[in-house]
């Protein structure tokens, strides 16, 4: 088991206030080591990267590139040249949509997503399909919130140009069988993009074992700062892709008439990057690497089981998303109490959790609900916090009845 007491002490936000933070699928809190890394960079090491030769700039560049290598090892990529710094998942997906897919998408082609995608992994593809006259196809889900894998072979065909899918659903907690999905996609030579936003903090990633073509995640959901994220792409794909945004840093040579573009990854990192964000991301990876990640997964499973059991013991609570393979994200509705009223009540009791559609409106439509309350857990959450949540839900029911 992991020592949650020790872990909580790593996170300064818990020392100054009574806070039961159950909104980790939205963003995680930051450990002191990450805060310190950003602080130290600005205090003593700040310079722009890959431009200047003075020692401060050289060491900033070295630190930035060092994080690229740490990310490579963290997700099992072949080379650091496959690691592109982005502002987060949204930018990573838009980059792949515009640079990789747009040039090869023709009228009548198809792009495949699932019913449970976050809007970030839906709208870039939807809009691109509209621009190109292509069709967006959707893998349905069952009532438990699991992908209809039985229908996937029929949805893949010779016109499918891309399959984009979340590894873990942010609304339901469903863990999707990515390796099996990639295997099926390979039969039709369909490239696969994996949205790892909800999985990266809790489960070891190995892009070579998954054999995915692209994978994206955000720093802020894995204890790193906001505004930094990663796009992994297989080197062979990246080599063929044109720049998405242009400007400084991504060129090899420039005249007034033309420009030759740098090789990946610099080709995809136009402008001054979020250097301190990358430094913070490196510190977050070090923090995660120091944890026993099997114990982390076991801890999450214990939290999920306890939360599920205690919630289901309350009359009028319905859990949305009951997949067999599920992470510690528990979405639920309460009969007679709107999610926002409940969230306001819980908030005043010091419990932070999200109410709403969680950027998955089509999914809410599928379950015919406008939104849910969502408790999403991570390494610093405890069984006692869940018991306090349950107790406070009881008080909310008395208040609103």
């Amino acid at each position: 088991m992991i020592d949650t007491n020790a872990i909580r002490q790593d996170f300064p936000i818990f020392s100054g206030q009574q806070l039961v933070y159950l909104d980790n699928a939205a963003t995680t809190q930051k450990p002191a080591s990450v805060i310190r890394a950003v602080h130290d960079f600005y205090t003593a090491k700040n310079a722009t990267v890959r431009r200047s030769v003075y020692p401060l700039a050289a060491s900033a560049t070295q630190a930035y590139e060092q994080v690229r290598t740490e990310v490579q090892h963290f997700i099992g990529a072949v080379s650091p040249r496959e690691i592109i710094f982005t502002s987060g998942v949204t930018e990573g997906i838009n980059l792949v949509a515009q640079s990789f897919l747009a040039p090869r998408l023709k009228p009548g082609d198809e792009v495949l997503v699932s019913m449970m995608e976050h809007h970030a992994n839906l709208i870039p593809w939807q809009q691109l399909c509209r621009q190109c006259g292509a069709h967006l196809r959707v893998i349905p889900i069952n009532e438990q919130g699991e992908l209809r894998m039985d229908l996937l072979p029929e949805l893949l065909n010779a016109r499918t140009r891309m399959l984009a899918i979340a590894q873990v659903s942010n609304s339901l907690g469903t863990i999707n069988p990515i390796a099996a999905i990639v295997q099926l996609a390979r039969r039709y030579k369909v490239p696969v993009l994996v949205d790892a936003a909800q999985s990266v903090a809790h489960y070891p990633l190995d892009v070579q074992a998954l054999d995915c073509d692209f994978l994206v995640f955000s720093g802020h959901k894995m204890f790193a700062p906001s505004g930094v994220g990663i796009l992994y792409g297989k080197a062979a794909h990246l080599a063929q892709m044109p720049p998405w945004q242009t400007g400084g840093e991504m060129i090899q040579s420039v005249t007034l008439e033309t420009a030759r573009f740098a090789e990946p990854p610099a080709r995809f990192e136009a402008g001054t990057p979020n250097v301190e964000g990358a430094i913070g991301l490196g510190a977050a990876i070090n923090y995660l690497n120091a944890l026993d990640r099997k114990a982390v997964a076991a801890h999450l499973e214990a939290l999920r089981l306890h939360a599920t059991e205690r919630l289901l013991a309350i009359a009028g609570i319905r859990i949305i998303g009951t997949a067999a393979q599920k992470t510690a994200i528990v979405s639920f509705t309460m009969a007679g109490i709107h999610p926002h009223d409940a969230a306001t009540f819980l908030g005043e009791a010091g419990i932070a959790l999200r109410a709403g559609h969680h950027c998955t409106q089509p999914l809410m439509d599928f379950f015919q609900i406008p939104g849910t309350l969502r408790a999403s857990f991570t390494i610093y959450n405890t069984i006692e916090e869940i018991d306090y949540l349950i107790e406070t839900i009881g008080a909310a029911r008395r208040f609103f009845s």
Binding site: H340, F345, F400
Partner: protein
């Protein structure tokens, strides 16, 4: 963070309107159907207005929302009935002042929503259908 009082947001009159909303039914035959929707939370209401001689003869509503937005709409529909459009414009302005700035009013049902002052993240709930009606009246004016 200063402690906030939930009872100042969820006043008894608000909880009562949430539980027993006024004229809560669909009226497809209405002269005007006004849609109010908050994309952030998914709350959605329809106002059904029967208008005669520049006055609301009857008003109804239907939809889905939190206790605040539902009670605010219930109060709105109750006040509208029998009121001239000119009076309604004044009423909407008064209510928006109560919710946004805590403006004083003799009307206890409107005053109940001043609690949103302490909960700015819930202000949009209190204003949802009132703002939709405001837009409708402004369009009707132009």
């Amino acid at each position: 963070m200063a402690a906030r009082d939930l009872k100042s947001l969820y006043k008894e009159v608000i909880l009562r309107h949430d539980r027993e909303p006024f004229h809560y039914q669909k009226m497809e035959a209405a002269d005007f159907v006004i849609e109010a929707y908050n994309p952030l939370c998914g709350d959605q209401f329809q106002l059904f207005l029967f208008i005669e001689n520049e006055a609301v003869k009857q008003a109804f509503f239907h939809g889905y929302g939190c206790a605040i937005s539902k009670a605010a709409t219930s109060v709105l529909v109750k006040k509208l009935t029998g009121m001239s459009l000119a009076k309604i414009r004044q009423l909407v302005a008064t209510y928006q002042g109560v919710v946004r700035t805590g403006q004083a009013t003799d009307d206890a049902e409107l005053a109940a929503f001043a609690g949103a002052q302490q909960f700015p993240e819930r202000m949009d709930c209190a204003l949802l259908t009132w703002a939709a009606l405001d837009d409708f009246l402004q369009q009707a004016n132009s």
